[in-house]
């Protein structure tokens, strides 16, 4: 057995964190000082850049959770269950942020905090509640059963993600705008470029949090192992 520990996760975290921090700073600068103001909405449209980027990353996190759930069901490797669980947590936190920032944007743009008749808004809340239930299910079982149930649920709950994504297109949303359609992005290149920078920065935030959580859990597990050994020896 090697006496040295694997330092690669910490190095990866440092690199991802630094790059993400730089990209976040760059995107905030670009959004507020370089990107043009929207002719229709004015400065309120600036909410779009991070609101949409966070929403995309939330859905990406749910996708990774579902993939890791499938991998767990195939290999029964607890590491896949761990990654899947962390991704659901990140996706859920990002979804809450999407709803809050979206409500603020709605109030500024439409004059109301929420529109219950809009399919995008309602389906997004359904997705959020479905993934919140994941943790209720997870806390109701232990060990292998917990991991198996969670994996199955993360895969099943992912069915709601395309529902939310396409609802606005299929139902022809009355209020929520569709920025990206089959013809591409519905905005000038000078806005799209800064949106892309913000989107990459948000993916970086997701990767940084994922790595940080994995490292913390690894440290927690190692401490528990030592504790158990000491207790057994005493």
């Amino acid at each position: 057995m090697s006496s040295t520990t694997d330092a690669r996760p910490a190095r990866r975290l440092a690199v991802t964190g630094v790059v993400t921090g730089a990209l976040l700073a760059l995107s905030v600068y670009g959004v507020f000082f370089v990107a043009p103001e929207d002719a229709d909405q004015g400065i309120i449209q600036k909410i779009f850049y991070f609101h949409v980027a966070i929403a995309m990353v939330a859905l990406l996190a749910f996708l990774v959770a579902a993939i890791e759930g499938i991998r767990y069901l195939r290999d029964r490797d607890p590491r896949h269950d761990e990654v899947s669980c962390i991704c659901v947590g990140i996706g859920l936190a990002f979804s809450v942020l999407v709803v809050i920032t979206g409500s603020i944007w709605a109030k500024a743009s439409w004059g109301t905090w929420w529109v219950w008749t809009d399919p995008r808004l309602v389906t997004f809340v359904i997705v959020l509640l479905l993934y919140a239930a994941y943790f209720v299910l997870r806390s109701s079982a232990d060990g292998e059963r917990q991991a198996r149930y969670s994996a199955i649920y993360s895969v099943a709950a992912f069915a709601s993600v395309p529902l939310s994504f396409y609802s606005v297109r299929v139902a022809r949303s009355f209020v929520h705008p569709v920025v990206f359609n089959q013809d591409g992005a519905n905005m000038p290149d000078s806005m799209l470029a800064w949106f892309v920078v913000g989107q990459i920065a948000m993916i970086g935030v997701f990767l940084t949090i994922l790595q940080l959580e994995l490292i913390q859990r690894r440290a927690d597990r190692a401490l528990r192992r030592v504790k158990a050994r000491l207790e057994a020896a005493a």
């Binding site: 600036k46 966070i54 809050i100 109030k107 949090i209 401490l223």
Partner: protein, 59 residues
């Protein structure tokens, strides 16, 4: 700047800071537990060495 834009970006910044605080608290707990375990190991080593030393002194 518009108050709604400030509020939206403020919420995002607050969430990030809150996460940093949570991670900091978790790291502090891990550090406390690691310290506790280190002290336990040191005490056990001291207890193991003590009889050996007293045995040598008696001889």
């Amino acid at each position: 700047m518009n108050e709604y834009v400030t509020a939206a970006y403020g919420v995002i910044l607050f969430a990030l800071l809150l996460y940093v605080v949570v991670v900091g608290m978790r790291s502090a707990r891990l550090a406390r537990e690691a310290e506790l375990l280190a002290r336990l190991v040191e005490r056990e080593e001291a207890e193991r060495d003590e009889p050996a030393r007293t045995g040598l002194a008696a001889r």
